[in-house]
């Protein structure tokens, strides 16, 4: 696609642009966390780039990598018709110090996406106007989409009924037998193993 955007970024930020590629026509730049906000402001305000449409922001957890998290931002220019994917890598192996500047002041649409990334991954966006959980409830502990969050761990808000109270097995697989209905799912596979 357009090499212009990547070239301009490299020219402006030099060694803070850690790597770039344009595989499958998707221009991608990985920038150093300290240049994150400046790069976003540049993308938005430079008249030749003019990225005026915020598309997506999310986090990815790579537990084997250091830094561990990747924050991925997609933006698009309606006037110039080009898009770019911007990435930044943050966080140590324990998932601490995953901090990045908020870009909610650059694209207002980023506000809730940063909250979601904070909620699911625990990446803290510095300078965000209202960094609360957005999908999970405030009582929830941990960040469910981190790879080290146990897949089956639930944190109920209402205490579950006990078997005596309910008068039947509460912790059940699908109520219509193993061979009927949906045969996938972890609990069913476990029940088959036992």
């Amino acid at each position: 696609m357009s090499k212009l955007v990547l070239d301009k970024l490299k020219e402006k930020f030099g060694s803070d642009v850690l790597e770039t590629h344009d595989q499958f026509g998707d221009d991608t730049a990985v920038v150093a966390p300290r240049a994150w906000k400046a790069a976003c402001e540049f993308l938005r305000s430079d008249p030749a780039l003019d990225f005026n449409l915020f598309v997506d922001l999310c986090g990815v957890d790579y537990p084997e990598r250091s830094p561990r998290f990747e924050v991925v931002l997609h933006v698009y220019s309606v006037s110039k018709r080009h898009r770019i994917r911007l990435k930044a890598r943050v966080g140590d192996a324990e998932g601490d110090e995953a901090e990045l500047d908020s870009v909610a002041s650059v694209w207002i649409g980023a506000n809730w996406f940063e909250r979601e990334t904070f909620d699911m991954m625990g990446v803290v966006f510095k300078g965000h106007p209202d960094l609360r959980r957005i999908l999970m409830y405030p009582e929830f502990e941990g960040h469910p989409l981190r790879r080290d969050y146990p897949a089956q761990k639930t944190q109920p808000l209402v205490a579950y009924r006990t078997e005596e109270e309910a008068g039947l097995a509460v912790d059940k697989v699908a109520p219509f037998g193993l061979d009927e209905g949906m045969s996938f799912g972890r609990r069913i596979l476990q029940a088959k193993d036992n």
């Binding site: 009924r161 509460v170 109520p175 219509f176 009927e180």
Partner: protein
């Protein structure tokens, strides 16, 4: 209207108006089962099927259950239609607690019955973990026919006073259907091979 059909009920014919003797609780049960006021707690995709059930084509008004009440205080039957997330559990619990006795609960769909394939941090794996449930209607989403089976099961339970949870059985076991499908597919492949071999000499 329905009929009084308990063994304990006697209908006397012959007089001009006719009358029946019954017990008060039987009469109440008979009256209740044909005037269920619904509270639809619709949260997810099963809601589409709920709309089909309530609209004229399937029409659950035929069962006397047409009146939705969006106040739990006025309703008898709580329809839990769709996935219940952990975050929503307190709301569902509270809605249930606000309903007046006698009250019944129907788990509509696999998600409400057992959590379905949502086996993770988000979802309550079956509403019976937080509130009592009378009828489970499996299916993702269930066919309207299955829902009517469930509704009639509830009506039976209202007349008999039996509060043991019940499950609507699938009319066709999907597993057997899969086996049949696989057998016929294999049959077709064999068939195809044989067909080709038969044709070869002619070509």
């Amino acid at each position: 209207m329905g009929e009084l059909t308990s063994a304990r009920q006697v209908t006397l014919e012959g007089s001009e108006s006719g009358f029946a003797t019954t017990k008060l609780e039987d009469l109440l049960g008979w009256a209740r089962k044909y005037s269920l006021f619904n509270y639809p707690f619709v949260t997810a995709c099963c809601g589409m099927e709920f709309m089909a059930v309530s609209s004229p084509r399937y029409d659950f008004a035929r069962f006397g259950a047409e009146a939705p009440r969006f106040s739990p205080r006025q309703s008898d039957l709580l329809w839990v239609v769709g996935t219940i997330s952990q975050r929503q559990a307190p709301v569902l619990r509270r809605v249930y607690e606000q309903m007046m006795d006698p009250k019944w609960v129907m788990a509509f769909g696999t998600c409400a019955s057992s959590g379905g394939f949502y086996d993770n941090y988000t979802t309550v794996a079956g509403i019976d973990k937080i509130i009592p449930c009378d009828i489970y209607v499996p299916g993702c989403p269930p066919r309207p026919e299955a829902v009517f089976d469930g509704l009639m099961l509830i009506q039976d339970k209202i007349t008999s006073g039996n509060r043991t949870p019940a499950i609507v059985k699938p009319r066709n076991d999907p597993a057997t259907a899969l086996v049949k499908l696989r057998a016929s597919a294999e049959g077709a492949v064999l068939e195809g091979k044989r067909g080709r071999r038969d044709e070869e000499p002619g070509r």
